[in-house]
Symmetry: C2
Subunit: 300 residues, 2 copies
């Protein structure tokens, strides 16, 4: 099976590295220079002290034709719009598309694209891109995937080879799957990004933990969560299990990149608005992260 990976950020490189052991992978990059580096040196995966090199073909995104059996779209949510426009103008209508964006803001956009089967996924690996062709994986994780539209046949076939070293689990309900991830991201990411702290600090510092629980109360209220205790426990467990990690949003702020705040808190605020509910803390944290994005590149 031929698999295309759209986007060569941390998640794109991570997937290319693992998946290329079982499938023929073509990774599509934003720049020619990155494609050149990957073609020349392969993709380096660093995991603890272990380093693996995977020889993967790369092309600039402008060369994508849509012919692969599966294309994994691994760009950030805020880069998705231009990719979706591209998809609707590909020479071939894609058979299977898997979208790996955080949050739920992109679901409405996916309804409008042409493809036979559309899948969504939620990635729980911690990874960061060290250079054009090097990705660092910290901690074990998994990927959940589910059908958004169409049937699951290809998804089953795709997920089978990686069970042990790179688990890809097919879930029944895409909405519940993404919601679960959204709740975790909404609680952990903005706070760590605003405070510049590691995930573990949100539970180890009891003042920060107080704010985390108050924020979670607002999230529960907006989403009408019934199993609140379970969700809060999941958030706490993730903070503990990834105590030394910096959340993706914190890493984005530190690297002067845009964050996924619109896909996460923006989605929840729109939901609050739709239900006529107030969410003063969510709103504060949303604007604080937006403000931090605006400070990008400024010396403080």
């Amino acid at each position: 099976m031929k698999v295309g990976i759209i986007g060569a950020g941390s998640i794109g490189l991570l997937f290319a590295s693992y998946i290329s052991s079982s499938f023929e992978v073509m990774i599509y990059t934003r720049t020619k220079e990155q494609a050149f580096e990957i073609n020349k040196y392969g993709i380096l995966l660093q995991k603890g002290s272990e380093q693996t090199i995977s020889l993967v073909n790369a092309l600039p995104i402008t060369e994508w034709k849509g012919t692969e059996a599966l294309a994994i779209v691994a760009v950030k949510q805020y880069q998705l719009q231009s990719i979706l426009e591209k998809i609707n103008h590909l020479p071939f209508i894609p058979e299977n598309l898997l979208f790996l964006q955080n949050g739920m803001g992109h679901l409405a956009m996916l309804e409008k694209i042409r493809a036979k089967n559309i899948f969504v996924g939620s990635v729980e690996h911690g990874a960061y891109k060290e250079s054009a062709n090097k990705v660092n994986q910290n901690g074990e994780g998994k990927t959940n995937v589910a059908v958004f539209q169409g049937d699951a046949d290809l998804l089953q076939q795709f997920s089978a080879p990686f069970l042990k070293e790179f688990p890809i689990l097919v879930q029944a309900d895409y909405y519940e799957m993404l919601l679960n991830k959204l709740i975790v991201n909404a609680a952990i990411n903005p706070l760590t990004a605003i405070l510049h702290v590691q995930n573990g600090d949100l539970v180890n510092n009891h003042y920060f933990f107080h704010v985390l629980t108050k924020l979670f109360e607002e999230i529960s209220f907006i989403l009408n969560l019934e199993n609140q205790e379970e969700h809060l426990k999941q958030i706490i467990d993730i903070c503990k299990n990834t105590a030394e990690n910096r959340s993706s949003m914190l890493k984005d702020i530190e690297a002067n990149r845009l964050t996924e705040i619109d896909a996460i808190l923006g989605f929840l605020l729109a939901e609050a608005d739709r239900q006529g509910k107030k969410a003063p803390q969510l709103e504060s944290f949303y604007y604080l992260v937006k403000g931090k994005e605006m400070e990008r590149g400024r010396v403080s």
Copy 2:
């Protein structure tokens, strides 16, 4: 007139420097070493490119007898408790005490001390202590003072000589005076401390400004403010006029010191509680600053 200054932080050094031109000043320090430095080299005041040296006598706080005509208590709010205990055990009952703490949390404590006249003040100078005997004054400012208990005679006499270069203005209503300052501090200090930004960023970054106005709404609600527009305008003006300044709370966080958060947001939260009102943003920001204090000395 003999004036004692209790505490040789930025405000104590600043006052000693200016006041010693008209009065006989004794500054009381926490450590013997600092008293030694001040006695040997005087106090250096840096204001822009201008430097002034004032020869001021200094003693460790343990030597304070309470005999001066006026004692100015210039310690931080969280150091006040031990000073108040000291006052109640001085060999002489002090004639006149002027307290320069931020916030309003200390007012209840002042009711219990023995002294003929008690004054409170609110300092609007920007100053930071560069070393044991050097203070840097950035920007022009003034000091407001008012009677808390007793009569104003000495206050008038004390404030008269400094009108131009170091204005000390006697106000009629101590409560209104401190409240005004509290509102400004509550809006500006926690946000700048959490975000690590200068005062001007709160109005120049429109996302941060949105959070500032939402926070101000909660402050207004708790204090039942009538002239909201005026207060908000004052906050905005101060942010603009001190755009390049770091708030005292930010400087405290950056220097790994405790902040005055309890005197400022703590006071407002207690007030909200007393009235049965909710203040979710104030509460979040209170705990975020408390959490930041707890991170002191940790490497992030």
